[in-house]
């Protein structure tokens, strides 16, 4: 790019470095194999523990999970979570965690690595800001399921509420049943798979990412457009959903794909007449 003159340079707008930040130091491609964060606890999946959360508050439950991980327990079962809010959050460790019952709001948020199973239902914003791992809910989920998720697999075998995957920045959200209005709202990347029907304004204002739907779509939001299903898409969908024993009633090959029309990119810089065209 060196030596190229741009209009913005002439206007004196380049006091700020526009390219990204690069890290070259610290890195050695030949470092010994290490698959977990240096600060993570070394746990054994065969070492199991369980406890009854009936009379515990959410902070107590979270601290107990942390304590067991520090002791090397890799498989933890929590009985009677009784739909308490903010439970199972901030687990930055590989582990198998099972909640025998339902969780309230913001369950399993900010996790990075564990495989979580919830045998009941979950409330609002389950797995918000999830970074990595898997979360599987056996029954239904509330609104803003997987809000701002960044990575990992978030699976609900039943139906979910509205605004599923709002502000999704990565990862995969799988819904075995139906999803409500504004699913994929402001989606930026990642994949959402809805096996059943989708409510109004699917993918409204999505910037990027992919939404696959098996059932009927009530209508599409602004800048969400049909995409072309490729062989790679089909192969990936089949493998991913089979992992969780989920299959759309219409069959994988009949699923529909939706992507961003990318008309809203740099929306603020459009002329008023152009904005009318987009909206």
């Amino acid at each position: 790019m060196a030596g190229v003159e741009h209009k913005s340079h002439d206007m004196g707008l380049h006091t700020e470095q526009l390219s990204g930040r690069t890290q070259q130091r610290f890195f050695s491609a030949s470092e010994e194999e290490n698959f977990t964060y240096p600060w993570a606890n070394e746990v054994d999946f065969d070492k199991t523990a369980d406890f009854d959360a009936m009379d515990m508050d959410p902070t107590g439950i979270n601290l107990k999970i942390r304590e067991l991980l520090e002791q090397g327990y890799g498989t933890i079962t929590i009985k009677n979570p009784r739909a308490k809010h903010g439970v199972g959050v901030g687990v930055l460790n590989r582990a198998n965690i099972t909640f025998e019952g339902s969780l309230g709001y913001f369950g399993c948020g900010l996790i990075d690595g564990p495989n979580v199973r919830i045998t009941g239902r979950v409330g609002w914003s389950c797995a918000e800001n999830m970074m990595a791992g898997t979360v599987v809910i056996d029954k239904n989920a509330g609104s803003t399921f997987g809000a701002a998720i960044r990575g990992g697999d978030l699976v609900c075998r039943g139906d979910v509420g509205s605004r599923t995957g709002i502000d999704q920045k990565g990862g995969t959200i799988i819904v075995g049943g139906r999803t409500g209005a504004f699913s994929g709202f402001m989606m930026q990347r990642g994949r959402m798979v809805i096996c059943g029907d989708a409510g109004k304004n699917l993918g409204d204002s999505m910037y990027d990412g992919t939404i696959y739907v098996g059932g009927e779509v009530e209508d599409l939001g602004v800048d969400c457009v049909p995409g072309e299903m490729t062989d790679t898409d089909l192969k990936w969908l089949t493998a991913k959903l089979s992992m969780y024993d989920i299959a759309p009633a219409c069959g994988f090959e009949n699923m529909k794909k939706f992507v961003s029309g990318k008309q809203l990119w740099n929306y603020d810089n459009l002329e008023p007449s152009e904005k009318k065209l987009v909206l």
């Binding site: 741009h6 890195f27 470092e31 960044r150 990318k262």
Partner: protein, 128 residues
Amino acid sequence: MSQNDVDKYLNSDGLDSSREKDIGQHIGYRYDVNLVPDMDRCSPFLLKYMGKMGWADLNWLEDVHMGYEEGKPAVFDRNINGWVQVPEDITLPDNQQDRDMIARELLIKFQMSKSHPMVDLVKAYKKF
């Protein structure tokens, strides 16, 4: 972006539209963020990582792709919000799927390294 122009950001500045030429910066991602991985191309290292974590596929690494920063191949590390350049002695394959697998492997090695910047941040700011 098709598989055919896999070297686009190595061989050019990637400024296509008049808007991009005006601002002197490429708009959008420098790779296809929607490209789903071909699991048949997983490296042995990545398969071992998946096994260690108890995952049947690449999980969060599905969103990791090889990008291009300052004319060089690089991978974005969300934990430092910056690009990590791919070592120059690594030969790049001629397709994005294989390049993405290299990026994933390198990112794991970087993130799990004791010399990753997050190690110092954890020491300084960890609350629990």
